[in-house]
Symmetry: C2
Subunit: 426 residues, 2 copies
């Protein structure tokens, strides 16, 4: 059978990884694809740069969008990144030209996935993006095909390797956020401008995609509640450990009585939950399905090899003619539940002046909001000085918790903005 001819836009780490894979594993890929998969054209910024791989014989386009019109290209692979600009233009032009697209671009899919899916459908071409979520874990295939016969109740995941690495080092070495972030930047595990990762945006892009797949509805990034990990302290991590929890940045999409809830924020998960033990740069995705039960997948979330593996898996599906609609299927729409309606348990950590009556004031406020306590932990005694007080609540509604925190923060004996971490089952 004739070869599947690929045009690759973007020759950074992942692009070079893909070319390396298609070269080194050419035989495996051809056998599993039923035909050779060969790169015929590329586009990148600096033509002259030495990338450590030969580019001879490949057509070079200075303008990536030209790949859409290149008659020697059957499938366009977009590895430039960014939700706007050339990445978006190339994907749109390729789909409009009836050319299948494989992309690793979560930002593009999270922000414009609705229109891009419609465009792909209109032209009857695949738009594949296994590499956009959780790198080397076949999470999209697992959800959209493996669990296709199930009603999915909940998907949760560790979706950002930078955050998971920082939280892991903070716990293992009992060090504070700013210090560990600086080290991670030196080691190349965090970007020079880390906001995109540590503020939860990257995880939210991925979560928006997983939610769309799980619940069969168009992607809705704006509906995702997002909090990052800047506020997590070494103290909270140590207290979590004492209470039998670990702190993880999770993306969670869940079906609740009021509709679908989508959110990214730090969570305390029981230390014996599988997801609690996924450390460092590993990612994990947990799905709860009505017939299959709980499925946990963990693996490498980023890097040249895992991402190239996911892109190449999409190319093999296309070479074999295996087609799945972008969001799996359109299922009955469900309302989006605002974060204020989140129902669950909370960890609340205060810094208070150690003097009589403070705990009574705090617990009275919680009682007024009908929030009941599971446990209360005062650490150390230093009369007249600041001490941490930890409260773990039973399940309650977030709106009540927020109202309580506002009043608690205003108490004269409460010295800092309280730290709130939601407790999840992992």
């Amino acid at each position: 059978m004739s070869a599947l001819r690929i045009g690759v836009a973007g020759l950074g780490t992942v692009g070079v990884g893909l070319l390396t894979l298609l070269d080194r594993n050419a035989e495996v890929v051809a056998a599993r694809a039923g035909r050779p998969v060969v790169v015929t054209a590329v586009s990148a910024r600096a033509r002259g740069r030495d990338r450590g791989i030969p580019l001879d014989g490949l057509a070079w386009h200075d303008d990536p969008v030209a790949l859409a019109a290149d008659p020697t290209v059957d499938v366009v692979v977009e590895l430039m990144g960014g939700s706007e600009g050339p990445a978006r233009a190339l994907v749109e032009a390729s789909l409009a030209a009836g050319k299948p697209v494989v992309t690793a671009n979560k930002a593009l899919l999270a922000v414009h996935g609705r229109e891009l899916a419609a465009l792909a459908e209109r032209h009857g071409v695949p738009l594949a993006f296994e590499a956009a979520v959780a790198g080397g874990i076949p999470a999209i295939k697992g959800l959209r095909e493996g669990l296709a016969a199930n009603r999915i109740e909940r998907v949760a995941g560790i979706l950002n390797g930078t955050c998971n690495y920082i939280l892991t080092v903070m716990r293992e070495e009992k060090r504070d956020f700013a210090e560990v972030l600086a080290d991670a930047q030196k080691l190349g595990y965090a970007e020079a401008d880390p906001a995109f990762d540590i503020d939860g945006i990257d995880a939210a892009h991925k979560l928006a995609i997983l939610a769309a797949l799980a619940f069969g509805r168009p992607v809705d990034f704006k509906a995702v509640h997002v909090e990052g990990i800047r506020a997590i302290s070494a103290l909270d991590i140590a207290l979590a450990e004492q209470l039998g929890y670990r702190i993880k940045l999770l993306g969670i999409a869940a079906r609740t009585p009021g509709g679908i809830s989508t959110r990214v924020h730090p969570c305390m998960v029981p230390a014996d939950a599988p997801i609690a033990r996924v450390d460092g740069v590993y990612n994990a995705v947990v799905a709860e399905a009505d017939f299959a039960g709980r499925l946990v997948m963990q693996g490498r979330g980023a890097g040249a090899g895992p991402t190239a593996s996911a892109v190449a898996a999409d190319l093999i599906d296309i070479a074999r003619g295996r087609f799945t609609p972008v969001w799996g299927a359109a299922l009955a729409p469900a309302a989006t539940v605002p974060m204020a309606q989140r129902f669950g348990a909370y960890y609340l950590r205060l810094m208070v002046l150690d003097r009589p009556g403070v705990i009574a004031d705090v617990t009275a406020i919680l009682r007024d909001q009908s929030i009941s306590l599971d446990s209360l932990l005062q650490r150390g005694r230093k009369p007249g000085e600041a001490v941490p007080v930890v409260l773990v609540t039973h399940d309650c509604e977030e709106a009540a918790m927020r109202a309580a925190i506002e009043r608690i923060a205003a108490l004269p004996a409460v010295l800092e903005q309280p730290t709130l971490i939601r407790i999840e089952q992992g």
Copy 2:
């Protein structure tokens, strides 16, 4: 689009589970399949039995093989089990009639998979079997499609829920094998005749299938080295825990310098390995892939819901026209390595008479076989009585270890057949 019409052979737990799923999740299945998936015909042993689900309007065949010829059946689902007899006859007849087959039958695939795959290929029809391995975990899809672009180095798994349940209860309750097995039989977690599960045959069937997928070669059940869990004692489980390990029955297929090794036996795995924490009736599959790295999948390995979910996922693939060759692809053949060439570390537990010179005799035998010790643990002192002695070796070849054990077992002070458990990384 017209409905996909299914004929189901076997209405036990899984058959009833499938009919329940296709009824209860009809809307989800139709949306993801792009067309309704409906059961039109069934076959089972006792026509009159109440199975708690309505069978009105379905054609009933006393002879399951008649489903292959029923013109109202587009796809045959075989859920009877057994490597011979009606299950085999039905699958052969269906494929020969050009009808796609979905089966949960690992024994049939492990023993006759080679000829059945050839038959399916000759007639150009799908033979799908996601449900045959690890129930609700999309392990086959994950390996064969998700990691399709990778050279797989190793696949390991907890593939039998009965064994994992028994080993888990033995550890948690510090009880012995026979007692826990008897309880498991009462609770329905083990069969009245448990040999198939506890002697490792069922796990070996599944491992043979995974090995074929991972290494792109026809299934070869006879090449699998198989040991079950009958010889595992509460004492060994306790000693393993002291040494920082857990005992699991693993199926392992690995590429080694000498070729492919396939085996099922009890293993000691580090207590912090993800697979060490997969307890009870859960299954897990771990794959090491050259580009994707390590992928771990865990979920429910058996039961009506998970198995029905896997069968229905195959039906949705067929409804969508998504086709994958039975073994993924034919890759370059590799030799099979016999168990005697296994290279790794060993746990060896002896019961010896506590008297001077015994340890010297044992260690001299190991030295003669060039086996070096990582640690030696003598538990308690009872001069003149039997005490357990544990030896953990560095990596060595199994043939040397077996030769050493033969000589050690013959020492007058060694009172029982030594217990040997291989140490694996999980």
